[in-house]
């Protein structure tokens, strides 16, 4: 399955390309570079706006019940158009679309971050191991990943969710395991580029153990790549959970989840567009913001 692995490393080369140099800089500069990078990020308007949008949704997710929003109560008026009392209108059961859209951030952010963290830890560990040991360990891992990527990702997810259910803990583990191979490939490519550098040889000659070289030498040097992959997988994790809910395989009614809300209100799209547009814009704003944050980190670390 060469072309699959070629594709993997090809994409890895694209994603990982700018960070090869960054790792070199990080190697020599240290903490000062981190602060400089943070300041460079804050000067970028797309980063600041995206971060504010993500912050907004995090506040909505954590605090919607503190603001007195009621996503489940019937206002007595079904499918009412947006007005002063109901800024986003109401759905077919008379529930406030405004309250439901804000409360929907809760389920959208329940799975994504934890799943992305798990996927990043798992993928980075496997990628570093494959890149460091090479040989049969690498070949075996890559062959297993080849089998996992044969099926279209969504089909694979449908099967796995069918088998293990769609509770929040199950989804976190599923996202973690399903996203890990892609991250492992890119980290592997980054580690392979590092392996040719002198500090690895030096560490080996000093008699450092394999675990120490991987954890203390290689991981810090591929950290920019890992951070970018973590952010990118957060965006796809949010997209994936929303998609599963939309397909009816994730959150179940009466949850205010965005994907589910769009699925439930599709029948009313002609008479009450506001019931689908606001959840749709909510998903879009969150995933695009996370994606732009990843992009900005990538740009500033090169």
């Amino acid at each position: 399955m060469d072309s699959m692995s070629e594709l993997g490393t090809g994409l890895g080369a694209i994603e990982g390309a700018p960070t090869g140099g960054a790792a070199g800089i990080a190697e020599t500069a240290g903490a000062g570079a981190g602060r400089r990078r943070a300041r460079a990020l804050l000067r970028r308007p797309t980063f600041v706006i995206s971060a504010l949008i993500v912050l907004f949704w995090v506040v909505a997710a954590l605090g919607w019940h503190l603001f007195g929003l009621d996503p489940y109560g019937n206002s007595g008026q079904a499918l009412a158009a947006p007005s002063w009392s109901q800024p986003f209108g109401t759905d077919n059961l008379g529930r406030s679309v405004f309250a439901r859209t804000l409360a929907g951030a809760d389920t959208a952010l329940a799975v994504g971050p934890a799943g992305a963290v798990l996927a990043t830890i798992l993928g980075s560990a496997l990628g570093v191991i494959a890149g460091y040991f090479r040989g049969w360990v690498d070949t075996a891992l890559m062959r297993v990943f080849d089998v996992l990527v044969v099926l279209p990702p969504l089909i694979f997810l449908i099967v796995v969710v069918g088998a293990f259910g769609a509770s929040v803990p199950a989804l976190i583990v599923i996202i973690g395991v399903v996203f890990a191979p892609g991250i492992a490939r890119i980290i592997r490519a980054a580690v392979l580029a590092e392996m040719g550098k002198k500090y690895v040889t030096t560490a080996r000659l000093q008699g450092e153990s394999a675990v120490r070289i991987m954890a203390a030498e290689l991981v810090p040097n591929v950290l920019p790549t890992i951070i970018i992959q973590a952010t990118l997988s957060l965006s796809s994790a949010i997209l994936t959970t929303a998609t599963l809910s939309f397909l009816g395989l994730g959150q179940q009614p009466p949850s205010p989840d965005w994907g589910l809300a769009i699925n439930q209100n599709l029948d009313f799209i002609e008479t009450a567009w506001w019931t689908v547009i606001f959840p749709a814009l909510a998903v879009a704003s969150l995933v695009v913001s996370v994606q732009l944050i990843a992009d900005n980190i990538k740009e500033t670390s090169s």
Partner: protein, 360 residues
């Protein structure tokens, strides 16, 4: 990428014709004359390797899928016959559907059936799963092909425009737009387009895609919105590949040589830029075509289109193990065939593959 771990078998017959001489170093990496000697066998060797690999990968995928679907909770016999059937009737139904015995026995029973064309009966639809899946597959393939026809020229144009304007504001704007579009779920893009074009502008009917039957013109009209949504979602990566490939080609020394020796620009683009820039893109597009057929589940559900993806979502939702196992295997077969097709295209496009051992 550097050549690491050449796989066993990848070297073809590199070490056999050397007689008593020691094999070249490193083993399995033909260089110089040894590469020239076997240039004609390269294509057959590559295809032969694929033809061995594909059934093996498929077997691994089928074991994984079958095992996972066995974990799906539910009592299919009881579901199919209803709550008034006796235990004996449910048991007889289970036996006739190959649902008794150990997982290994059931797997072999299913595998034998799959290869002999006896794919079992869907628990939910109560019809043989083979015609059901193949009918939906045809619809999905039509949609995927339509999306693909939209995707290829647009990604070529956008990618090359970006490459020739590298580093400028328009380059960055296209990159950000495409990235944003690909990170938004298909149902979000779909809903926004539906509201704009179907509800506000009334250019297309809302339930348009539901009529997948009818003559060719009607089908194309009905499927335009779903195909656009699919193409938009998958646009970013191919466009990025075209951009990277084109930037690589126009900054290469051979491009400067071609310009300096006064070749007409059309010829430079055709013979020097396009050929080199397209190689990674073709590879990616082949995989996309295979993936599009399974990945269209969201768009099919959104537009109520009777495709394979939507069928598999229903199968997973209603715990229809037979339909799900067969359908997932079909998507796997298609993805692998697309990969084989990609290899053939690459061999035809890139002479280096015929001569060199291009490992990861």
């Amino acid at each position: 990428m550097t050549v690491l771990n050449p796989r066993p078998g990848a070297a073809g017959g590199a070490d056999s014709p050397h007689g008593g001489l020691p094999p070249p170093i490193p083993p399995g990496a033909p260089r110089g004359f040894s590469a020239l000697a076997e240039r004609h066998s390269r294509i057959l060797a590559l295809l032969g390797k694929r033809l061995i690999q594909i059934p093996l990968v498929l077997l691994a995928v089928s074991i994984l899928t079958f095992w996972l679907i066995q974990l799906v909770p539910g009592d299919p016999g009881r579901n199919a016959l209803g709550q008034y059937a006796t235990e004996a009737q449910v048991h007889a139904w289970d036996v006739s559907n190959g649902l008794t015995g150990s997982v290994v026995v059931r797997y072999l029973h299913w595998l034998g059936g799959f290869f002999t064309g006896n794919w079992g009966t869907s628990f939910v639809y109560l019809v043989p799963s083979r015609p059901l899946i193949l009918g939906h597959l045809e619809n999905s393939a039509f949609l995927a092909l339509y999306a693909f026809v939209l995707l290829v020229p647009v990604s070529l144009i956008l990618g090359s425009v970006q490459a020739y304007r590298e580093g400028r504001r328009s380059d960055r704007a296209i990159t950000i737009t495409l990235m944003a579009l690909s990170s938004v779920p298909e149902f979000v893009t779909g809903v926004l387009l539906l509201v704009v074009f179907a509800v506000w502008l009334k250019a297309v009917p809302v339930q348009s895609a539901a009529d997948a039957t009818g003559n060719f013109g009607q089908r194309v009209h009905a499927m335009t919105l779903p195909a656009v949504v699919l193409a938009v979602f998958y646009l970013a990566v191919p466009a990025r590949m075209v951009r990277t490939g084109t930037v690589g080609a126009i900054t290469a020394p051979f491009h400067r040589t071609a310009v300096l020796k006064g070749l007409p620009s059309g010829q430079i683009v055709r013979r020097h830029v396009a050929r080199n820039a397209l190689i990674p893109t073709v590879q990616l597009l082949g995989i996309y075509l295979g993936g599009l057929i399974g990945s269209s589940a969201v768009v099919e559900t959104l537009f109520n289109y009777p495709g394979l993806g939507a069928l598999l979502v229903t199968a997973a939702d209603r715990k229809d193990a037979v339909l799900l196992t067969d359908g997932v295997m079909v998507t796997g077969v298609i993805a692998l065939l697309a990969l084989l097709l990609t290899d053939v295209c690459l061999i035809l496009m890139d002479p280096r593959i015929r001569f060199e051992n291009t490992e990861s």
